[in-house]
């Protein structure tokens, strides 16, 4: 794993190992917030930002505090605390210094704490033994990949509003199946690069 270049990880995390389409993380907010394009873009940006920062933060804490102290069984609880604290901090910071940005992104920030893609990215970082640069690359890539998926989905759902969908499939069921088709399309990138 240590040989893979950080840039390759960025590309792979966006296309071939998309955190939503191949690891199924962040489905809840994906389903809830993909109805409008503006919402999807806002959430996508917020997730990319938070994911990049928290995976790097968690990397530092895991490798310089938890492992040396031999308390890595507390990983889960520390990671989730770091994410929650970071989101809270960003919320206060944005509210104080950029009220305009706060109104655009503010409502998404609390949602992000329970977005499992964020915690998932941190856990993958531990499982796959990434170096510092690889972690940063993975955080950016996974965030961008998630944003790409939700923005594409918002566009598709707008179109679907005009289609005649059988009643039992309306709502979540058809969204799931369309996501499946999207995942199938993204599998086409699989030959390009891969991380495992």
């Amino acid at each position: 794993m240590s040989g893979t270049h950080a840039l390759i990880i960025v590309i792979a995390a966006i296309f071939t190992n998309n955190i939503l389409l191949s690891n199924f993380l962040g489905m809840c907010s994906f389903l809830a917030c993909s109805r409008q394009l503006e919402t999807a873009v806002g959430l996508g940006v917020a997730v990319t930002f938070v994911m990049t920062c928290t995976t790097v933060l968690n990397y530092l804490i895991y490798h310089y505090v938890l492992v040396p102290q031999g308390i890595d069984h507390l990983t889960f609880i520390v990671f989730i605390a770091v994410i929650a604290a970071f989101v809270q901090f960003v919320e206060m910071f944005v509210e104080r210094f950029s009220p305009k940005l706060y109104y655009a992104l503010g409502i998404f920030l609390p949602l992000i704490t329970v977005n499992c893609a964020i915690l998932g990215a941190a856990l993958f970082m531990v499982i796959r033994n990434y170096t510092f640069l690889q972690t940063a690359g993975f955080g950016v890539g996974a965030g961008l990949g998630w944003a790409l998926a939700i923005i594409l989905m918002a566009g598709l759902r707008k179109k679907m509003g005009y289609s005649n969908i059988p009643r039992p499939f309306q709502g979540v069921a058809i969204t799931m199946i369309v996501t499946g088709v999207m995942a199938l399309a993204f599998m086409g990138f699989a030959g390009m690069v891969s991380i495992q």
């Binding site: 962040g26 809840c28 856990l123 199946i177 499946g180």
Partner: protein, 216 residues
Amino acid sequence: MGSNAPVACGVCEGKGLLTFKDGVWHDNPISIQILGICSALAVTNRLANALVMGGALVFVCAMSNLFVSFLRTVTPRRIRMIAEVAIIATFVIVFDQFLKAFYWEMSKQLGPYVGLIITNCIVMGRAEAFALQNRPVLSVVDGVANGLGYAAVLAVIGFIRELLGTGQVLGLTVLPPDWYTSNQVMILAPGAFFALGFVIAVSNMLKGPEPEENRP
């Protein structure tokens, strides 16, 4: 687990059975409330994985509901979310360590998804929506019921995907390869989305003709 329900019913003056039915069927966390989708998709490529994950959720949901309910009168409202997350994370760590100690192979297979139970909306949702308002015993019934409802849907999806994807059920060959060519897509990511989409559609059909409000 199911045999606990009648006992608890006596304790809660008949509300237990109702709570139980709601959790498993009427308000099923996955097919009706659409919560906890991530792990429902990720661990269902094999039926065995789905069953272990279901068991994990029954345990975590019941225990966290119990403790959130115990502490509901002494938890200040402002920090209740943090308290809930801490309680949930504790039981997830217990389960994760148990799996690592006794079933290392399974722990490898499930990967990060055991840890991700912490952010599983079902557990948090039940703590917030039920355990905060109800007494401990009833909360445990609710936790077990929601865990079982989740486990049941996972088992169905895991069964469909393993059967269509490999022709096997729990590792035993059911559809012999000479007349069923297994469809690899079903055990890969897209198959998960298709299977869950159809499961939700079928559950909508069974629910009857009431209109679905959330059109895309």
